[in-house]
Structures are given as C-alpha cells and as structure tokens.
C-alpha cells in the first residue's frame, strides 16, 4: 500500500468515526425530552403514585397571565402508578410523547402519608440512577403531593423552581426551615441519631391556583407556603415541630444565617410593645458534658444583630437601654432553644446533632449510649447560654415614640 492511499484510508476512517461516535446510542435531541421541574410522591396504600411537573418550553418564552403572550400553561402535571418508583416512572412512556428528564428537577414533594410510611426506596433510586440529582430539595405536604405540583405561583412561571427559591430564600433570610437535599437526608438518617427533618409546604388560602384565570386578579385564591418542620426517626415521620421550635433546631444545629428576634418592651401607658432585632450572624456550640455519669448538654450561642424596629419609647443613646434589649433578646433565643429541645425529647428524636457530638467528645461512653440512644437523649438536660450583641442601631438612635412622648415625661 503506498503512502498516499494509506493517508486517504486513514482520513476516511477518521471521518467515518465522526458519524458513528456522535454520542453513540445515547444521542437524544432537546425536543425529545420532557424537562421535569418538580416531582410528587404519593402512596395509595399499595402503590406509589409519582407525579411530574413538566415544563412546556414554548409557553415559558412568551409569558403568562395578563402580561400578554399566550394563555397556555407553562407547566403540565401528570401522574403514573407502580409497585416500585421506577415501575411508575416506566409507565410515563405510555402517556408522554417525550422522555422524562430529571436533571433539572428542583424539588421532590412527599405526601405526609409517604413520609409516615417511610421512603428508603426513593433515596435508593436517587443514588442508583445517574439522571436524578442528589442535590434536589425535599419537602413534605400534609395532603396530596400532586396537588402541590398543580399550583401556580406568583412571580415564578415554573412553580417547581419557585418552591426551591422559596426554600433557599427562607433559609438565608429567616433560617427557620432548612433546605434538605436528598444526600443530606440520607446522611442524617444513616447518622448516629438516625433522625432527620424536612420542611413542610402547604396550600394556604381557599381553593387552588391551578388555573391561569387566577392571575387576572391582584389577589390569588391560594398560595404555596412553608410552615412547619416534619421530624423523622428511623426513616419515618413521627411528628411536626412549629416554627419557633424549628428555629430552635436551626440555632442548635448552627444553621442560622440570618433571622430575627422579637423582644417585648413596655410602653409609657404600661401596654406591651415589641423591639425587633435582625440577627445577622450567629454561631452555636453544642457541647456534651458528663455529670455524675449522666449526659447533659450545654449550648453556647453567640449572636450579632441590628435593631431594626423599636416599638417602645427608648433612648437608644444609653448603653444600659441597649443592654436591656440585648438581655430580652437573649431570653427569647434561650426560650426558643429550650422549646425545641423539649419538643425533640417529647418526640423522642434527636434532630440537634447531639448524638454526633456525644460520639465525638466521648467515644468510649458512646459505645454504651449508642445501644439505647433514645432514652439517653430524652433524659439529657440542656443548659443554654446566649450572648447577643446589638452592634448596630440602624439609621436612628432615639425611638420615634421616645421623641413623641418626651413632653409627657417632662
């Protein structure tokens, strides 16, 4: 074979490979995919009901509601059933012209029934398959998960995306509820305490916002809202914590990014007013202590804040007045933390990372405690020390009520 012919054959072989190796057998076009933005998981007693919120790309580009453009819904929701989660997903091919693509799935909503039944199968599906992502956020709803997926949201075209944004924004600015991703949930449930938490999403208001007609008015009939904290033990939901208790969990888990604390104060006429402190930084150290052979905990909270509202006549030039507000804030935080701890003990669930810290600090005793951690935890006392510093007073010092009531004092 002469050199020229050889070169031609090599070039032809290379050109041929560009045809056969273009993604091989996995080639798929964008218009063959159904992009899933949220997934709902329900359980009917014997079968899984999996609901998919699928994005309609053509509708997104033109906007919805009264702003012009199309009246077509930007999302479509449908469900399939199966004895296993993947079996239900397989049946989606019977009704969808496109293949479901989970790479952009933002949230997974579990019905309370599923959460109380347990959902280890779902976690297995997420870790076993390459399509779904372990970073998807998980939520629990008291009713049907499918109904949550059907709701439209103000300001966000795709409610799956909107739900994730609410969770992230709430976590960043209020820190009451955490953003729990699938891998974090798996870590918590497999951890020393075998317990975890999930935020609740529910429909507030009357009726549904499942039709575009709702957006012809300034007020929509119902909204998707975050509320309580679902508590799980050994993979099953055992109860709820209210928002105060949930904030207490955030303090104890050292997950407070920004939040607020409302401090009662006394008005001139003796009625109760409130000051508001915006907590811009907080850190908590939960330390296990062994006293006379019994396990106890101490929580040391250091918080830094700004006074954002003064509801009483206060001369905020005076350090002693500030110190008094700080002490009031410290008392509030301490109460919130104690309420959360008591609720955790009442439910028999350690969602505070107490088991991990006991294991790290007292590895020898842990071998004994781990056998019956539940009873060890439920009898452990918590001592809370809060150090709150109001570093900034905002753009004014004396409160407006102090100025208006000055005459009365004089």
């Amino acid at each position: 074979m002469n050199g020229k012919l050889r070169r031609i054959l090599c070039a032809a072989a290379l050109v041929w490979t560009t045809f056969i190796a273009t993604g091989c057998w996995n080639r798929i076009e964008l218009n063959e995919l159904a992009i899933t933005s949220a997934t709902g998981i329900d359980w009917d007693g014997s079968k899984w009901i999996i609901s998919y919120q699928v994005v309609i790309p053509a509708a997104i580009s033109s906007g919805i509601g009264t702003t012009g453009g199309t009246q077509q819904s930007p999302i479509v929701v449908y469900s399939t059933e199966g004895r296993t989660i993947r079996e239900a997903m397989m049946y989606s091919f019977s009704e969808s012209p496109r293949k479901l693509f989970y790479g952009h799935n933002r949230v997974v909503v579990l019905s309370e029934e599923v959460a109380r039944r347990g959902f280890e199968e779902l976690i297995d599906v997420y870790f076993r398959n390459a399509g779904p992502r372990e970073t998807v956020s998980m939520l629990v709803t008291p009713g049907s998960a499918r109904r949550i997926l059907e709701q439209f949201m103000q300001l966000q075209l795709i409610s799956g995306d909107g739900m994730k944004d609410i969770v992230l924004s709430e976590m960043k600015n209020a820190s009451i509820l955490p953003n729990v991703q699938v891998y974090q949930l798996a870590m918590e449930l497999a951890g020393d305490a075998k317990s975890a938490v999930l935020p609740e999403i529910y429909i507030s208001g009357s009726g549904d916002t499942a039709s575009l007609d709702s957006f012809k008015q300034t007020t929509i009939p119902s909204k998707l809202k975050l509320r309580r904290l679902a508590v799980l033990r050994q993979g099953r939901m055992v109860g709820w914590m209210n928002q105060r208790q949930s904030l207490g969990v955030s303090y104890l888990r050292n997950r407070v990014q920004q939040t607020g604390v409302t401090v009662p104060c006394e008005k001139t006429d003796g009625t109760r007013g409130y000051d508001m402190i915006h907590i811009s930084r907080s850190s908590t150290k939960l330390k296990p202590i062994v006293r006379e052979g019994r396990l106890a905990y101490s929580a040391e909270v250091h918080a830094l804040g700004t006074l954002t509202e003064s509801g009483c006549p206060q001369n905020l030039y005076k350090p002693e007045v500030i110190r008094k507000i700080e002490q009031g804030g410290e008392l509030q935080i301490r109460t919130i933390i104690q309420e959360a701890w008591s609720r955790g003990q009442q439910l028999g669930v350690d969602v505070f990372g107490a088991a991990e810290s006991a294991h790290r600090k007292h590895p020898q005793q842990w071998k004994k405690w781990s056998g019956d951690w539940n009873s060890v935890f439920t009898s452990a006392a918590l001592e809370t020390n809060v150090h709150l510093r109001i570093a900034r007073m905002g753009l004014s010092n004396k409160s407006f009520q102090y100025i208006t009531n000055q005459d009365k004092r004089e």
Partner: protein
C-alpha cells in the same frame, strides 16, 4: 536504546499508573472497613509501601540501561528471563483489561447507558493502542501534560466543595478498632504496588540516577491524591453513606452548586479524569506489548500491539459478564494477583540479583 523520558515524565507515568482507578475504587472500600479512620489506613498503606519503592529503585539501578526483559535474560539466562517476561506480560495484559472494563463500566453507568459495551471498549482500546503505537515518548509527554492538568484541577475541586466540608466528621480519631484499620490498608497498599511499572520504564529514563526520586515522588503524589479524595469524601458525606456509592469521587463533585450558574460540573471532572484513565490504559498496554515482544524476541512491536489489542477487546467483554463479578475481582481476587506480580516477583528478582552478584562481577571482570 535511546533514553527518552525525563524524571518528571516518569513521575507522571507512575502517578497515572496508580491514581486514576485508585481514586475511584479505594474510598468506598476503605471507608466501609475503617469508617472515619479510613484516612489513617491510607496513610499506613503509604508508609508500608515505602520500603518497596527502595527495592524497585534498586532493581532499576542494577539494570545497565537494557530493556527490562532483555536485561533479565542476560542476567539470569534465557529460560528464566522468558518465564519472568511472560509472567509480567500476562500481568500487564490482565491489568490493562481490568482498567478498560472499569472505565467502560463507569462511562456506561454515568453517561452512555444505552451504548453497547463493545463500542465503548473498542474505542478505548483503539485510543490506547494508538498512543502506544507512537512510542514511549508520546506516553510520557501526554502523561506529564495530564499530570499538570490534574495538579491545576485539585485546588479548584477543594475550593468548590469547601462549604460542604466538615472536618469534624473525621472525629473521634482512632475510633475504629486497629484490626479494621489494618485491614483497610490492604486495598490502598495494593494499588500503590502498581508503582512497580517503573521496572519497565526505567531503561528509557534520561537520568538513571533519579530512579528513587521518580519512584518516590510518583508514589507520594498518588498517595496524596488518594488521601485527598478519601478525606474529602469522608468530610462531605460522612462514613455511613459512602459504602453505598459506586463512585463517591463523582458524587462529591456532583453536589457542587454555586448559585444557579455553576451546577452539575461532574461532566468536566469526568472529562479530566477520563484523560488520566487513557494514560493509564496506554501505560499498561505499552508494558504488556513490551514484555511480550521482548520475551518472544519480536523485531517489531506493532504485531504484538495489534494482536494484544484485539485480544484485550474480547477478554474485557467476555471475562466479566456482570459488573458485580468485576467488582468482586477488584475487591478480592486482585489481592493475590497484585501481591504476586508487584511485590513477590520484584522481590524474587531482587533476591536473584543479590545471589548472582558475585558471578556477574566475575563475568564482568573476565570480559574486561
């Protein structure tokens, strides 16, 4: 034979002969045995392997610059040289098949699940064979470029996962009992034994004086990479869920989310890591071809390369009908395999060199 590769390139070859599959396979194995003390096991394996680096380097130093099998024949006689050559040839060929299958399984699991295995394996073997056909210099240069790329990527990987890292997950120290920590050293130790590839590449080195340095740095950089992945995996996921992950290294990158603009970056990691896998394949295929053609005194390597490549495609496809069989092979069956070829055989060669030293000196004196 003309010396062609620098010390740094040799470091890169050794590193790429160990790390690519090690960072994939070691974390779930060591963490499932030693829990959060797995990093101690990896460190222990590195320390335990250090004397072997000196042994391998000493054997390399005894070689006056001849191709490895040719030198063994001249030293121990043709039958012994041929036997060792065949044994090494079989070892490198089997390891090459194992690497190809691991990589093909990974690509099938992660990205190309509908693409038939023969297609993935065929392309991988073809790329490795193409690299080997261009000789040791091409492998060395590619290897060095890939090493530089890996060194540049490591700080970014740590930075992107920084917020997920919790060093407290490594505590309490030495919580796992010592037998378990010791048992967990086996897997990383065996992977480090692949440093013995230096025996094949050392005659091509420009500076024979730096065998120890090349071996040591190649092994230490690999140890560092394995350690980093084990520590990061532990501090991000904790010890409990890692054993259920097939590729925790990829899960680790998969959770990176920087705002909404940097997500799902594992595909970049897979691309970069894939390059290291191709180098590893090329290194082992080169070693297999080298041993076979030297043993059989073939004039050209090309026929051996084509023959072994075709055989590798068939072997890789047929040897493990199920992925779990390959996983079991990696976990358990490789233990005697690697010990015999990477520790036992070099030790036997070392002993043989000591025993024949006097005779060799006399022969040298006679010829002079």
């Amino acid at each position: 034979m003309k010396p062609a590769i620098s010390t740094l390139q040799t470091v890169a070859i050794i590193n790429n002969a160990i790390s690519p599959t090690a960072i994939l396979s070691i974390p779930p194995v060591v963490i499932s045995i030693a829990s959060h003390d797995a990093w101690i096991s990896v460190l222990g394996a590195g320390l335990a392997y250090l004397p072997m680096v000196a042994v391998i380097a000493a054997i390399c130093r005894a070689n006056p610059g001849k191709p490895f099998i040719e030198w063994l024949e001249s030293r121990f006689g043709r039958p012994v040289g041929m036997l060792i050559g065949l044994l090494f040839g079989v070892y490198y060929f089997n390891t090459f098949c194992l690497i190809v299958r691991q990589f093909a399984n990974f690509i099938g699991d992660m990205v190309l699940d509908e693409t038939p295995l023969f297609m993935l394996i065929g392309i991988m073997v073809a790329v490795a064979a193409f690299t080997v056909a261009h000789g040791v210099e091409a492998i060395a240069r590619s290897s060095f470029i890939v090493l530089l790329m890996v060194a540049a990527i490591i700080p970014f990987s740590v930075l992107l996962n920084y917020s997920d890292i919790n060093l407290q997950r490594l505590l309490p120290l030495v919580d796992t009992d010592l037998p378990h920590i010791a048992a967990a050293t086996v897997s990383p130790f065996l992977w480090l034994t692949e440093m013995s590839i230096l025996l094949i590449f050392s005659p091509y080195m420009k500076r024979p004086a730096s065998f120890v340095r090349a071996g040591m740095f190649g092994m230490l950089f690999s140890l560092f990479e394995i350690m980093l992945v084990v520590v990061m995996t532990l501090t991000i996921f904790g010890p409990r869920i890692v054993p259920m992950m097939s590729y925790p290294f990829i899960n680790m990158v998969g959770i990176v989310e920087v705002g909404k603009f940097l997500e799902r970056i594992e595909i970049f990691t897979v691309s970069a890591w894939g390059m290291t896998m191709y180098i590893k394949m090329a290194v082992f295929l080169f070693a297999a071809v080298h041993c076979l053609s030297q043993t059989l005194h073939l004039r050209s390597n090309r026929h051996a390369l084509i023959g072994l490549s075709v055989l590798a495609v068939v072997t890789t496809l047929a040897a493990w009908p199920r992925n779990v069989e390959m996983d079991n092979w990696v976990l358990y069956d490789t233990i005697p395999f690697l010990i015999v070829f990477n520790v036992g055989l070099p030790a036997v060669i070392g002993i043989g060199l000591i025993l024949t030293r006097a005779g060799n000196r006399a022969k040298g004196a006679k010829t002079s």
